[in-house]
């Protein structure tokens, strides 16, 4: 299976690539796009800053060099949905893309991958679509977790769910800490999703959007309530 991590930074892309590169039968590429349409100086300063902040700059440098030598590190100059970028993606002949960039995917980009692009969404679908879904789940007393599904051009409306995993919020004392923990689970869940896709006894689950709602960015008032709920949740409870 040929897999491309679509990343907003080299550091972000390599982090996921390292998690899945040892999966048997998987060839990994890292495609870095200029999501924020930054000027070159800003873009590369950001890359350096992200690598430095990861405290793993030596590992990043060696892995990055290795990927570049094998021509598995592709830096896109233009927007992801430029014709040139899409042509690059098609040439890779990948089966699956892994979402790791802050971009909205249009149909030509999605269809450049044989099976589509996977997204590790930090909420349980189909109930929680959209933004701040971890906080909304806590506020409404629902389990927190993640869903890995094939995206479409809508907001978390892609019909094919590969896996859902409950990841309890207990022990996390703020919404920010909880979200950071959930975001950091993406590489592990992508690995699990690819393993699932390659297994023989696998069937996709349906993302029935009529069974859920779209959520939006949460107000400071509700976020404060979520922080209080998290801070006062006994670690022993579910």
């Amino acid at each position: 299976m040929r897999v491309a991590v679509i990343a907003g930074s080299i550091a972000g892309g390599l982090r996921i690539a390292r998690e899945i590169e040892n999966l048997p039968g998987v060839a990994v590429f890292v495609v870095v796009c200029n999501a924020g349409k930054r000027a070159p100086v800003l873009r590369w300063s950001r890359e350096l800053l992200l690598a430095f902040r990861s405290f793993k700059w030596r590992m990043l440098a060696t892995t990055g060099y290795r990927y570049a030598q094998l021509r598995k590190l592709i830096i896109l100059g233009g927007r992801l949905d430029d014709e040139t970028s899409i042509e690059h993606l098609r040439e890779l002949q990948c089966d699956v893309g892994l979402h790791a960039a802050n971009v909205i995917y249009r149909e030509p980009v999605i269809s450049a991958f044989r099976l589509g692009i996977l997204n590790a969404h930090i909420g349980i679908l189909p109930k929680y679509r959209g933004r701040c879904v971890a906080e909304w789940s806590v506020l409404q007393g629902d389990p927190t977790g993640e869903t890995v599904f094939f995206i479409d051009s809508g907001i978390d409306t892609g019909d094919r769910i590969v896996l859902r995993e409950v990841i309890p919020s207990k022990g996390w004392k703020s919404a920010r800490a909880l979200k950071n923990m959930l975001f950091a689970c993406d590489a592990r869940l992508y690995r699990k999703a690819l393993e699932t896709l390659m297994s023989s006894e696998f069937s996709l689950q349906s993302n029935d959007t009529s069974k859920g709602q779209r959520y939006y960015v949460m107000s400071r008032l509700f976020t404060k309530a979520v922080n209080k709920i998290l801070a006062t949740t006994p670690v022993t409870s579910g």
Partner: protein, 229 residues
């Protein structure tokens, strides 16, 4: 933990509800103290006879109307104008309405979004002449679209300090508030929370539509002291 077990397991909500209620009542107390920053004296005077009622409603004791019973109706007709009905709802008064079994045709969102700004306002004020209708299950698609517009394009404009359509944004906020009153959907309440928290430089521009601004704050005040979310 197995996903189906986790999703089906009842979660004790008492503590969460208590925390949420505490935060909402704190915001209500804050609104009681600070609403004059939004509705200035000049703005209040422009409300005419309504000014005293709005002043006493926002500064006075907590009051709210429970409209949940109306969700069971198919449709509601009324003789009063949209503005008069909205004023009654905002001030927690009785709203003259007659339950009906013949709802209007569904509103096509595709067509609605192609209309001009004035036409859209006219369509909404006409359809929701009895504003309680926005809370009916049959109006979910319209309500979701209004919520999306508020929380995506309108929010972005206000946060960036860009020009926005004051009347239309306030109309949507009022309808979202009425929907929250009837359905207890926290997302609609939170749209009002979010707009109330936006930068003052954007919020003060809402004074251009003093009646809708006053109604919005009165509805928001009611939602903040509403129990059972």
């Amino acid at each position: 933990m197995d996903l189906e077990t986790a999703l089906s397991r009842p979660v004790p909500l008492d503590r969460s509800e208590g925390i949420l209620r505490g935060e909402l009542l704190t915001r209500r107390a804050e609104l009681r103290r600070s609403w004059r920053h939004l509705i200035t004296r000049e703005c209040l005077e422009s409300l005419g006879a309504l000014a005293k009622e709005v002043e006493s409603f926002l500064s006075g004791e907590d009051a709210f109307c429970d409209w949940r019973f109306a969700v069971t109706f198919t449709w509601m007709n009324c003789n009063a104008s949209f503005t008069d009905s909205l004023r009654a709802i905002a001030l927690a008064r009785k709203v003259e309405h007659r339950p009906s079994n013949t709802p209007p045709d569904r509103l096509s969102l595709a067509n609605f979004n192609t209309l001009s700004r004035n036409e859209r306002i006219e369509v909404l004020c006409d359809r929701y002449r009895c504003p309680l209708n926005i809370g009916l299950p049959s109006e979910s698609d319209v309500a979701e679209e209004l919520l999306r517009q508020l929380m995506v394009p309108d929010r972005a404009k206000l946060e960036a300090g860009k020009e926005f359509d004051v009347d239309f944004v306030l109309l949507k906020l009022n309808l979202a508030g009425v929907r929250a009153m009837m359905t207890r959907d926290l997302r609609f309440l939170d749209a009002l929370n979010y707009f109330y928290e936006l930068p003052r430089r954007s919020l003060v521009r809402l004074r251009a539509s003093p009646h809708f601004l006053a109604f919005w704050l009165c509805i928001y005040g009611q939602l903040l002291c509403t129990p059972e979310w």
